[in-house]
């Protein structure tokens, strides 16, 4: 394994997707990755379901692909060509079935496929109907890469601190949240991105969709938050944007001494948490 970098440059690729048009979206992912690479970004992050768009309803069955599959192969080639690491979202078809789908974040690097994360918490309320279409994932995900240990989670997962906590306990230094959040929920995510970073003393990159799909307006506002919850970079609200931010993992040491939340974890509470959540 090559030596891990201590300092990396992130590119938050806040795109709006063309619904049901993977070809066009792949082109856009390629364009943004090329632009990011011109600025020497190490990791380019795209939003949740950015391959297909978010509001696709029943068309999801035609759009989902197995991983690795044609679209991930194309992104792998892009990563190889540019030397960038790339994270993006897509509907993943289970290899063992014909119509069981996950809402998945895919992570590829210059040497190929690194890993994937299947969204654990599927919002099915208000305008969301994810449980109608997706099976939830059962595992958190953190990957050791030349860019450090990077953990993935998706949108509504952020409301459940245990997802980030587990990802952090698996070693993630950078928590990456890809999202498709509509504007009425902006304030919640602005609070929660800071909270998840701070309580885990980790860097957090949040990348949201922009644009309008069936009247649903995605608010953009992608950001990088420091382990103390400070905003290091922020993309425009509502519009497409490409924002860069350097992250230096060495900064985590002083934060962990100042806010030692990991040192102070109380495992016995988790047993109680489990018991009580079973009897809610």
């Amino acid at each position: 394994m090559e030596k891990m970098k201590e300092k990396i440059k992130l590119a938050l690729a806040q795109i709006s997707s063309r619904r049901e048009n993977k070809k066009e979206n792949l082109q856009k992912i390629e364009e943004f990755t090329m632009k990011a690479k011109e600025q020497e970004a190490d990791l380019v992050i795209f939003p949740e379901l950015s391959l297909t768009g978010y509001v696709v309803h029943d068309q999801i069955y035609e759009l989902a692909e197995i991983i690795p599959g044609p679209s991930t192969k194309r992104i792998e080639e892009l990563a190889k060509k540019t030397g960038a690491h790339i994270i993006f979202g897509m509907p993943e078809l289970s290899e063992k079935t014909k119509a069981t789908i996950f809402n998945t974040a895919v992570f590829v690097g210059p040497k190929g496929f690194i890993g994937k994360y299947r969204k654990m918490y599927l919002p099915t309320h208000s305008v969301f109907e994810e449980k109608r279409y997706f099976r939830p994932g059962y595992q958190t995900a953190a990957f050791n890469t030349p860019l450090g240990n990077i953990g993935l989670f998706i949108c509504y997962d952020i409301f459940f601190p245990e997802v980030c906590r587990l990802t952090r306990l698996k070693g993630a230094q950078l928590l990456v949240c890809i999202s498709a959040s509509p504007a009425v929920r902006r304030s919640y995510f602005e609070i929660l991105t800071a909270a998840r970073a701070l309580e885990n003393t980790a860097f957090l990159a949040y990348v949201n969709l922009a644009g309008v799909e069936d009247g649903l307006q995605f608010w953009g506002g992608s950001r990088v938050v420091s382990p103390t919850g400070d905003l290091l970079a922020k993309a425009k609200y509502d519009e497409e944007d490409l924002v860069f931010c350097e992250v230096d993992y060495r900064d985590m040491r002083s934060v962990e001494t100042f806010i030692p939340t990991l040192r102070d974890l109380r495992p016995e509470l988790f047993d109680e948490l489990r018991k009580l959540s079973e009897t809610l």
């Binding site: 063309r18 619904r19 309803h57 029943d58 109907e129 109608r132 504007a183 644009g211 309008v212 509502d238």
Partner: protein, 280 residues
Amino acid sequence: MKLPPSILDLNLPEVEMRIRRFIKEYVENAGADGIVLGLSGGIDSGTIAALSSLAIGGDRVIGLMLPEKETINSKDIEDAKFVAEKFGLKTQLCDITTVLESFYKSIPIFDPTDRLCKGNIKARTRMIYLYYYANKLNRIVCGSSDKSETMMGYFTKWGDVAADITPIMDLYKTQVRKLAEHLGFPAELATKPSTPALWPNQLAETELGIKYETLDLILYGLERFMTTEEIAQQLSVEKTLVEKVKSRWLAIEHKRRLPLVPKIEYRTVGTDFRLPRHTY
């Protein structure tokens, strides 16, 4: 939950931006050359005219004034013209009286004393004019129904509510009035009493039997799943009034939906065909 009048306050610049963005995105993606809307001289249609013009430019918006002899009112025409001038949209006046009289004459069971059935012909005739212009000029019809009227079913099925988009349908009447003032409407016009203009001297609040200031707060509470007891207590009104509003809201859901279809086959129109509205 408390229900002070201020609970209906909105971040008006944000709402204006969201609605303008929604209109612009829809017109662009639909490949339409512009918007046609009914310009009655009332505050809902005036607000829609203003937002449409601000979103795509007044030169791409036509406001149709569609008076008929029984309800024509020079103040309404004057107010409609004022809005058109202020926001730079084009107008066209079509007197629909002769068309209506042809309907009355040609319907064997026509009953001139049944003002509701007769009035609905007026609303549906106006719809026909709007869609003629839309078809002929490759435009979309922008509806001006608000949330109060829509929740109460205070509209003509396939008449005034018929449109391609309805940008203020998520705003209560009192919120539309505040938005109008924010957009620069004089207070006198923003607070002008509403009328569907189905018969002479028809006033919405008289027919609904409640002031919009109270109705909107009741509807706000119902929207947030408050009980009728809680709402009545909060607003210091009779519980029977709240129950009446709730019953009316629930009784006319059929007016807000596609026609009901018996479930016979695999996927059914209006029920479980869940598709994006557009393929763009």
